[in-house]
């Protein structure tokens, strides 16, 4: 029994923390919000130099050949400082899928650049007025000779304006789903969308007869559902750690403030209304951390059903918990917590950002139920879902 990050992982964490402290923690996000994205670019380069972008890339593609658990400290540290960007989508979605399903050409094209910090990939899934249900995908691809031609609209694409390539979820002619790698191009029509979490850039991409070489198909035709399902496991394990990082910082902020802020001649942390609230936050944090560690661990060690149960439960729990914690943190800070000046709101907005990202808590709970074999009885599926007493 050894359920903890190992010494190497903890040491790497301490390098990252030192570096992110040095660059001012949330200062990067704050500059980003003001429109100064420079600092963010500098920090991403710095992190790449530390090796953060090479961790889970195979050694033959110039990476470190490490695994999902080794990404945990990176995500946690990024979560602590509300870092902008699509490191998550790149490392915990694009990389595992490229590694497993990419052609040698694709690997060579993307992985070494990612490892060196020169490429970041985003995910184009959601379409206007839809949710994440895959049966709703309308964005279409057709084969024309040696090219694939895409038509459709994707919205809320993270870092649509920064990403070096997009994994685009498309419907092919025989009604299956597939994934296409689309490289960034100035001709691509991107409309920025204003996000409540201003440390995130979102954009709507319109593909109008957009042609890419056939070699940009990721995996085989009609394999989209499987690839997404697999990618989503990696992404949500990583996301859970991102959320845990945010939670940890928020608990730390609340604890520190409760120790120094005095009212009625007492540090407010002496009042049980504050103390016990912070304790409940801590409970949520530790619960989320254990679930997220385990989720990443299953990706290295367990079968798909175990992975699903572990990842979905971590994702669902951490998503809700982070919103709760970030909200309480504002209340504990009182008036000052309501200002733009203090970081509290950055965490709240980021927590909300992830609430429904790639599916809601409800979706993941339902997926969890399926993964655990809590089957719905098929025969009764068509019965009226809601019955009401009194014959109404």
């Amino acid at each position: 029994m050894d359920f903890a990050l190992n010494e190497d992982q903890e040491m790497f964490r301490s390098y990252l923390r030192k570096y992110l402290d040095k660059v001012g923690q949330t200062k990067v996000a704050r500059e980003f919000i003001k429109g100064n994205t420079n600092e963010f670019t500098v920090v991403m380069n710095g992190l790449a130099e530390l090796g953060a972008t090479a961790i889970n890339i195979p050694e033959e593609n110039e990476g470190l050949g490490l695994g999902a658990v080794d990404l945990v400290p990176v995500f946690e540290e990024m979560g602590r400082v509300v870092l902008p960007g699509i490191y998550l989508e790149t490392m915990a979605f694009a990389v595992p899928l490229l590694e497993k399903y990419g052609t040698e050409e694709q690997k060579a094209k993307y992985l070494p650049d990612i490892a060196a910090g020169n490429k970041q990939l985003s995910l184009a899934w959601l379409e206007p007025v839809k949710d994440y249900s895959l049966d709703q995908i309308e964005c279409a691809v057709k084969e024309e000779g040696e090219t694939l031609v895409i038509n459709g609209v994707k919205e809320l694409v993270p870092d649509a304006d920064f990403a070096d390539a997009f994994i685009v979820v498309v419907r092919n002619s025989n009604d299956g789903l597939s994934l296409i790698l689309v490289d960034r191009d100035d001709e691509l029509s991107i409309r920025p969308q204003k996000c409540m979490d201003e440390s995130r850039h979102l954009g709507e991409i319109t593909f109008d007869e957009w042609a890419v070489p056939k070699s940009q198909l990721l995996g085989s035709w009609n394999q989209g559902v499987n690839l997404l399902e697999e990618g989503i496991l990696y992404l949500n394990a990583g996301l859970s750690s991102l959320l845990v990082g945010g939670m940890e910082k928020v608990v730390g902020m609340a604890t520190e403030y409760a120790n120094i802020r005095e009212q009625f001649g007492q540090p407010i942390g002496r009042f049980q209304a504050i103390k016990h609230t912070i304790v409940d936050m801590k409970m949520d944090l530790e619960m989320a951390r254990s679930l997220s560690y385990y989720a990443s661990w299953t990706l290295e060690e367990m079968d798909a059903e175990k992975q699903k149960a572990a990842v979905y439960s971590a994702r669902a729990f951490a998503t809700e918990a982070f919103i709760r914690l970030a909200s309480e943190n504002i209340q504990i800070h009182g008036g000052i917590g309501f200002t733009e000046e203090i970081d509290c709101h950055l965490f709240l907005k980021r927590a909300r950002f992830y609430e429904h990202y790639l599916g809601s808590v409800r979706d993941y709970n339902e997926l969890l139920a399926s993964a655990l074999g809590w089957n719905k009885n098929e025969t009764s599926k068509n019965m009226k879902a809601e019955k009401v007493v009194h014959g109404q």
């Binding site: 007025v129 949710d131 809320l156 204003k194 979102l202 009625f264 007492q266 209340q331 709240l348 909300r352």
Partner: protein, 398 residues
Amino acid sequence: MDFSISKQEEAFRQELRTWLEENLPEGWLQGNRELPEDKADYAVFLRKWQNTLYEGGWGAISWPKEYGGREATLMEEIIFYQEMVRVQAPPLINYIGIHMVGPTLIQSGTDEQKEKFINKIITGEEVWCQGYSEPNAGSDLAAIQTSAEKKGDQWLINGQKVWTSFGHLADKCFLLARTSTHPEKKHRGITAFLLDMNQSGVETKPITQMDGQQEFNEVYLTDAVAYDADIVGELDKGWRVMIALMLHERTGIGAELFTLEKRFDDMVAAIKDYQINGRPVMDDPSVRQKLASFYARFRGSLLNYYRNLTSTLKNGHPGPESSIDKLAVSELTKEMAGFMMSLQGHRGMLWKEDAPIDPVWQDEYLFSFGQTIGGGTSEVQRNTIGERVLGLPKDMGR
């Protein structure tokens, strides 16, 4: 039990309704309710609205007739707010002046103070703010450190106030300052001053909120000057003045509650219209369940308010139960706003012009975090209810 309103009250409502239809700013009733973005224009607009109210006889309805009021009953005041919420009238820039400072001066101001201030409050000529909270005295208001020292015939005031609404627009401030530094109990030795904001010793700095708005200010006082004539009540007895002043706010959180009622109706209407994947959100049983439970709590809060109002009508003044109203409304407002965020799915993160339903829901959500903090945090309300309504033992330091 009797929820009906009297003929006289009904007539009052009709008169107000008719007047509002004729006198609201142009286009307002048709839904064009934009306030000027520019701060100066904004102030001019709101002062003008206060003046319009005044000229119509609605400037300060609960005041005595001799001061321009109409000696409205508590029920009429309630009706006034119901109607204001109904037409979503512009905010009252001089709320502090009309509901707190004016009545206090009418009751216990000197003749000179009445002469100098009261008419300008009701006309909107002078806007008032409130100088209470300080960086180290929020929940613990009695801990204020802003000092007033007598030099010659001047009181020199030094310190910092915070969370001063409309501070940057205000002409006058009802300010609490410490005039005795070592009192036996810290709420003693505080004096209430009527401070002129338009002087070099007063500097205001807007606070940017987490929703990006600036509605509050820090007020820095550096040898700001007041005179004996600007003291309300007695020297060192400002705490008592402040308590009496609060009792003048006899409609309690009525306006917030009516706003919540409107917000709830708007929410239901928005949800009825909202579809995701072509599926009406109102079809989702869990949404209906949640709405039903909000309905019960919001109706319960409103009915509680009416029950407390009944006892205010009997006793002549509001009791500590008003903390129950405040706690219920603020917590519910926050929770409802959070639900409305969740309901919009990932697309709910889109903001301002990109918001999927109406950006007001995103703005409301962020703003709602101030509700359980401002005007006494929920923790302080719980202490008040525990100690003053239930008779539980006093907390540490109180």
